[in-house]
């Protein structure tokens, strides 16, 4: 199932369109078409994911402009993270933060929020 774009983008800040999200959703869709596989066994006790909620809200449910990530399809989540990491987006904050995580760590985090 593909998460609704509206829940990825959150509310557009101040009536402006979020800068990067449209392209990211396209990337994510491309990743799914390409059949990238997600390891269903990836688990996280919340230690890593817990850091994300300071911005993205309790369990990944965000108020306001920051995107909600609760219940996000893990493949979309990972595609977005890869897009941020590659610098192929106009990310404001996340492009600087995602570089701290390995692919394995991102998979753990993706699984955690997918289950919220």
């Amino acid at each position: 199932m593909i998460t609704k774009p509206s829940s990825i983008a959150g509310r557009a800040p101040l009536g402006r369109k979020p800068t990067a999200i449209g392209g990211i959703v396209a990337l994510a869709a491309a990743a799914i078409v390409a059949g990238s596989s997600f390891p269903a066994s990836a688990q996280d006790d919340g230690l890593l994911a817990n850091a994300c909620t300071s911005c993205h809200g309790v369990d990944g449910r965000s108020e306001g402009a920051i995107p909600s990530i609760a219940g996000m399809d893990p493949e979309i989540f990972l595609a977005i993270m890869q897009a941020f990491r590659s610098g192929n987006t106009n990310a404001t904050i996340m492009g600087r933060i995602v570089a701290a995580y390995s692919d394995e760590q991102l998979q753990e985090i993706a699984a955690y929020f997918a289950a919220r």
Partner: protein
């Protein structure tokens, strides 16, 4: 409360070894007890994270005030963008989740008996103590700047009445007045804070008292997000804000609140409003226990946030020496989650994880719809020192579009809603 040297403490520990071993308490079948002193970004987050990850632990939160006013967004109050009530939070949700929230001052800690004494004489037993006492001002570090002086020349570096006082002074000031903001040397709470403050006060003055001037008399040679702030100031506020570094006689060395005089090495000013932000140190209760090891802030192991000086006591937030992490509410929140999980592991007889990635993002509003940020990611090294993760973090770009600045402003507001929801419900 007597200070305890490391050597004395080790002696005491040996003598009191039986009481020092947490597993003994657990084997006595009693629920393990965690007492938290301080209900801000660090303490409130430890309390709620413990309820979430280890509901069998009895958690007591001791906080002096019935409500908490956040320093983040208090500059928006100074700039007239928000009311103080919108940055004020209570403890009802935390209480409803089963945390014993006690409105009292913790006056004494006995780290051998593992007890906390409150102002009314009550004693609380703990298996693990968490202190999140924030910072205290170092009164007297600037000649003439004491608690009485702060009622005339507010620091407003602890949000609440000080914020209201400074806002009232700005509102009462005549057009054409001089506002001095005097930031301290490092380390201090919220490194970009004084410059965000200058920005949002400039926003207020530009629209209400446009002939006024803001002089930042700095003890430092450089500051957080400096080029981004200076780019924004030039674009938004012309020459209203002037920054004077320490080497150009910027450092404030003395004040006289009676004559509204602010003194540097070579210059003397008589501003209409003086916001003196003095050097800081860990909150009094941590210093009284010697947890700072004479350093002013408290060394901790970044894997557990346990004190390097006294075992069984954990510290989070601005009171700590947290390696590469800056002193911010965001840092305190991130540290608190790691600390709570470590305590849960330790009290369950397990080893704390060293796999955490800690985060900090300091958003600053320069004006409505104009935000900038600095982000960092941190891990612990083999000694438990918090180090930056290479390749991650950094500031917003210079020369970014209006859309990017507006997005960061909106993200800052959204962050605030989310983190305060996480802390206070």
């Amino acid at each position: 409360m007597a200070k305890i040297s490391r050597r004395e403490f080790i002696g005491w520990s040996a003598a009191a070894a039986a009481t020092m071993l947490a597993p003994i308490r657990i084997s006595a079948q009693a629920a393990p007890r965690v007492v938290i002193i301080g209900g801000g970004f660090g303490g409130a987050t430890v309390a709620r994270t413990l309820r979430q990850v280890a509901p069998d632990i009895a958690v007591t939160l001791v906080e002096r005030d019935p409500q908490f006013v956040t320093c983040p967004l208090s500059n928006a109050v100074l700039g007239g963008l928000r009311d103080l009530s919108s940055i004020t939070f209570g403890y009802d949700v935390i209480r409803d989740e089963g945390v014993d929230v006690i409105t009292a001052e913790a006056t004494d800690v006995d780290p051998v008996a593992r007890t906390v004494r409150l102002g009314d004489g009550t004693t609380l037993d703990y298996d693990r103590l968490v202190m999140s006492p924030g910072v205290d001002m170092r009164w007297g570090a600037i000649e003439g700047y004491d608690q009485a002086a702060a009622e005339i020349m507010p620091h407003a570096w602890q949000a609440g009445p000080q914020t209201a006082l400074l806002r009232n002074q700005l509102e009462a000031m005549e057009d054409g007045g001089l506002v001095i903001i005097a930031p301290p040397t490092n380390p201090f709470r919220c490194p970009p804070g004084p410059y965000e403050r200058a920005s949002l006060i400039a926003h207020y003055l530009k629209h209400n008292k446009p002939s006024s001037k803001i002089l930042i008399l700095d003890a430092k040679e450089a500051f957080s997000k400096q080029s981004l702030f200076e780019e924004a100031w030039g674009a938004l506020y012309g020459d209203m804000i002037e920054w004077v570094p320490g080497s150009l006689s910027g450092a404030v060395i003395g004040v006289d609140p009676g004559t509204m005089t602010v003194r540097t090495d070579f210059d003397e000013y008589t501003p209409a409003v003086a916001n003196i932000i003095p050097p800081q140190q860990a909150g009094a209760i941590a210093l009284a226990l010697g947890l700072d090891d004479g350093l002013g802030f408290c060394p901790i192991d970044g894997r557990t946030f346990e004190s390097r000086v006294v075992p069984g006591i954990h510290l989070v937030g601005d009171a700590t020496i947290a390696g590469a992490m800056p002193k911010s509410g965001f840092s305190a929140n991130s540290q608190a989650k790691v600390c709570a999980r470590a305590i849960a592991a330790i009290l369950a007889g397990n080893e704390a994880s060293d796999d955490a990635v800690l985060l900090n993002t300091c958003y600053s509003a320069v004006a409505p719809d104009y935000g900038i940020s600095v982000a960092g990611a941190y891990r612990t090294d083999a000694d438990g020192t918090l180090v930056s993760i290479e390749g991650a973090g950094g500031t917003s770009p210079l020369g970014a579009s209006e859309d990017v600045r507006a997005a960061e402003f909106a993200y800052a507001e959204s962050w605030y809603e989310n983190i305060t929801e996480e802390m206070f419900g």
